[in-house]
């Protein structure tokens, strides 16, 4: 057991489940009987997991791109559900971006906010430090952040996607129940 195990079981899983529940509660309660009506396809979720595992730093770009596609689909009168307050497809990808970066006011939980809590003392930028020492510290911090993303992002998004698919499946007509699970 190590510190990542504790963080995953106590924080990451809880937040991933909460955020998937919130999204499904807001956008899927109106009924997505058919998978083709879902705000996000299984193939897109697979892509999301691949990027979270292989290139977590690209997640925000990926989410922006998908949100833009969803927006264009809405404007051109695509298959979005116009009875709903927002475009669920766009909202899904905005949520992914928010999960990574947080909201502009930094009030909501995000992976980057969580990461900031764990920056080791030796990599924290020192006020007033300049020159080579500052550059070295910044480089070390970036490397530490890169490593942290590679360890934490895949676990978070795997849990998020598994919980999302589980919720969507049990809500289908003929699905087992509408009860929420852990």
């Amino acid at each position: 057991m190590n510190a990542l195990d504790l963080l995953v079981d106590d924080v990451i899983v809880r937040e991933a489940v909460r955020l998937a529940e919130e999204f499904v509660g807001s956008y899927a309660e109106l009924g997505y009987g058919r998978e083709s009506d879902w705000p996000v396809s299984r193939a897109q979720l697979k892509g999301l997991l691949q990027i979270a595992s292989n290139e977590p730093e690209q997640l925000v770009n990926f989410a922006d791109h998908q949100a833009e596609k969803a927006r264009r689909g809405e404007q051109s009168g695509g298959r979005s559900r116009r009875t709903q307050p927002d475009n669920p497809k766009e909202a899904f990808w905005k949520l992914i971006k928010e999960i990574v970066q947080g909201d502009p006011q930094q009030k909501k939980w995000s992976l980057e906010k969580l990461r900031r809590q764990y920056v080791p003392q030796e990599f924290q930028l020192v006020p007033g430090e300049t020159g080579q020492a500052k550059k070295e510290r910044e480089a070390k911090l970036r490397e530490w952040e890169r490593q942290w993303n590679r360890e934490v992002f895949p676990v978070f998004f795997r849990t998020f996607v598994n919980h999302f698919l589980y919720l969507m499946e049990v809500r289908k007509p003929g699905g087992k129940s509408k009860d929420k699970g852990r």
Binding site: N2, A3, D9, V13, Y118, E151, T159, L165, G181
Partner: protein, 161 residues
Amino acid sequence: MNANLPEEQHSVVLPLNLVRKADQFLDDETQQKRFADLGRKIYDAFSGENGGRPGESAPVSSQLRNLQQIAVSASRFSEIANFVKRQMGRTGKVAERWRKVGEEILKQLEQLEQQAAHLAADQTQRFLLRLYLARGWIRAVVGGYMFEKALREMGKKGLTE
């Protein structure tokens, strides 16, 4: 981990008093009945999944074996629920079978988690206790499954003899 989360913690052992309390919980008659009932439900959900020749004992469900493997080897308790949800969230016949029993599995896992929180105040001990409880739980579930399997197969044999 390499990413310098708070200090690495290795080789932490559960105190004996917590192990005893966990065993008491697992051995409680009501819990044993619930776990065994779940095993029976899993048998109902997955029986016939692997085929088997007439007159021969059917193989144990590979889905149950997968669940058992995860519960026994998981390094984090959350991996078990994650596995169940992944199976339930898939498409196809196997996923349909999982959806018949998945909610009950998740419910029992949640109760194990609550029990660990009730017994241990320390975060590390709680973490280990959850895994300990999961291992005891899956033993009882598999026991319930095997008992049901034996009963059904004996009954079937009895009818054909």
